[in-house]
């Protein structure tokens, strides 16, 4: 039976490029798929596009690390690093390849996920854009929408591979679809063979967060995971019938077993019986996972159902500014000191009429990661950091918060230190998701080749 090997190269923007190098150099793969876009990432890229319209794609070291070895070995790269400007990313890769003296490369760029310019037109056509989470009406955020990108499926990427692309750059694409695309291309799976498509998406889901299926961010016996300084990213050996072995490159760190793979299986999943993607609805209650030797897990039996008629659009809207400030206190009575500092700052804020729309106070070392679930009264902690965060209407207002902190060092409880300077205000972006008819998105999808 025909089989191919696909590797994961990146789990998010900020991930290390070196494990991808291990996958390319010794993973024996034909394809490497990279997921550079979390929901949050589009918000970040939107800000960079606001500063410079030529940007808006993920700028990191991946291509400079991967291009030479992938070119040499004939490994094809698929990525959503195009963000909200895939042609910009395509041009960047072309320039990079030229600079490295790498010729004969075909770079495909997929556009069409951006529907921001068409929101009004689609609303006029009757698309409600009601928020899938809150049910809220889009009118509440109108005029503040910063980006609106539909999740595309694997089709554009398959087309790009058929055009002979060595590198495929997309924007907002369903993360696991990047792994499904090479399987469809290689095995010729039909677009309505739901169980095959479901197998591909399921594998993609296991691989899209890089080391999260090979022992990274593992909450079980994490202390036993070997060589975390050089984690092996997942590699799937996929058979034509959709069955697969999940493993990792020889000689790398991490652990692929039922426990590590299961944790990733439910990561960011809602109803497991209906994992909805543009290409297929996958039933996560169907796969069978079996140990198949050291660092090998066999996956069989994945079932799928017909794809949805509407596609999800991920939107972001401006929702004010965040101002942030921190100051730390030592034992004795560290928590009491931090509480008193908070009280002083609150009074001073009131004295000058500084009224943020929202304020959050956390005590680092006591409850900043557990909130109301924190245990104990914190009476004997070695140190406590007071962290204040506000949400304001304007950037200027947000920048006022950290200014309350330095005077506290001399005016307040003893031992204040480690203030961390004056953090710059950060724009807050609310997330909004809605459904739009598939054909409205698909008719604007384009695949274009650039050649070096």
């Amino acid at each position: 039976m025909k089989k191919i090997r696909i590797g994961a190269g990146q789990g998010f923007w900020g991930d290390s490029p070196f494990p991808a190098l291990d996958v390319a150099a010794r993973g024996d793969v034909g394809y490497i798929a990279c997921d550079a876009l979390a929901e949050l990432t589009l918000a970040i890229l939107q800000k960079s596009r606001q500063k410079d319209p030529a940007l808006g794609y993920v700028q990191d070291g991946f291509f400079s690390v991967l291009l030479p070895v992938c070119k040499e070995k004939g490994i094809k790269i698929l990525t959503n690093a195009g963000g909200i400007n895939p042609p910009g990313a395509g041009r960047m890769v072309c320039e990079l390849a030229r600079g490295m003296g790498l010729g004969g490369l075909k770079i495909a760029v997929i556009t069409g996920d951006d529907i921001l310019p068409r929101v009004k037109e689609l609303k006029d056509k009757g698309v409600s854009f009601d928020d899938m989470e809150s049910g809220g009406n889009i009118a509440a955020v109108e005029g503040r929408i910063l980006f609106a990108n539909a999740y595309l499926g694997a089709r554009g990427m398959v087309q790009a591979l058929e055009m002979g692309a060595d590198v495929v750059i997309a924007g907002r694409t369903a993360d696991p679809a990047q792994f499904l695309a090479p399987m469809i291309y290689e095995f010729g799976w039909s677009w309505d063979h739901w169980d095959r498509l479901a197998s591909g998406i399921f594998l993609g889901h296991l691989m899209e967060c890089s080391a999260q299926s090979t022992g990274g961010n593992f909450s079980g016996d994490w202390w036993n995971i070997p060589m975390m300084e050089r984690m092996g990213y997942p590699v799937a050996e996929v058979y034509e019938n959709g069955e697969a072995i999940l493993t990792k490159p020889e000689g790398t760190g991490g652990r692929v077993d039922l426990e590590t793979v299961k944790e990733q299986m439910l990561y960011e999943v809602h109803d497991p019986a209906a994992y909805i993607t543009p290409d297929v609805v996958v039933d996560f209650t169907t796969p069978r996972l079996e140990a198949a030797g050291p660092d090998r897990v066999r996956i069989t039996g994945v079932r799928g159902r017909p794809r949805p008629e509407r596609l999800k659009v991920s939107m972001g809207y401006h929702d004010g500014w965040m101002g942030e400030a921190t100051v730390r206190y030592p034992w004795p009575d560290a928590l009491a000191k931090a509480r008193r500092a908070e009280e002083i700052i609150r009074k001073q804020m009131a004295m000058v009429g500084f009224q943020p729309k929202e304020m959050l106070v956390e005590y680092i070392g006591y409850n900043s990661l557990s909130g109301p679930l924190a245990w104990g009264d914190g009476a004997d902690l070695n140190e406590v950091g007071l962290r204040l965060a506000v949400r304001t209407e304007t950037k200027l207002d947000a920048s006022r918060l950290p200014r309350f902190v330095p005077p506290i060092a001399l005016n307040g409880p003893p031992g204040a230190t480690g203030g961390g300077g004056m953090p710059r205000p950060r724009e807050l972006i609310g997330l909004w998701s809605a459904l739009v008819p598939r054909e409205e998105v698909e008719k604007q999808v384009r695949v274009e080749l650039m050649e070096v």
Binding site: E39, Q264, L266, H270, P272, E362, G371, R387, G430, L431
Partner: protein, 107 residues
């Protein structure tokens, strides 16, 4: 019968989507699946996260891998890029569920 922390019986990972957090909960031993099913209910999880989670909690069973998936709505102070929290991505919810106490007999 004694009370123990869920941490003794299971591991968990959480993730975010918008203002929703999900937590996958995995008993270390398959025979503890029923115990968790009985005690770690959606209601109890909602109660456990009072003050952090504003919306509803749903529980899904995933018997093929002996696991549960919890979906917590209104859990992230508006979502990762909107939240004022240190844990704006909800990464710590998995650890937080393991603080729950369960009645346990045996070893």
């Amino acid at each position: 019968m004694s009370k123990i922390l869920l941490r003794e019986l299971a591991h968990a990972r959480s993730g975010d989507k918008g203002n929703t957090v999900n937590i996958g909960l995995f008993p270390y031993r398959a025979e503890h699946y029923e115990l968790l099913k009985e005690q770690v209910t959606a209601e109890r999880v909602k109660e456990h996260f009072a003050g952090l989670v504003e919306g509803e909690v749903a529980r899904y069973e995933v018997p093929n891998i002996n696991a549960f998936n919890f979906v917590l709505r209104g859990a992230l102070n508006g979502g990762a890029s909107r939240s004022l929290r240190s844990d704006n991505l909800g990464k710590c919810f998995g650890a937080a569920i393991l603080r729950m106490q369960v009645e346990f007999e045996g070893n």
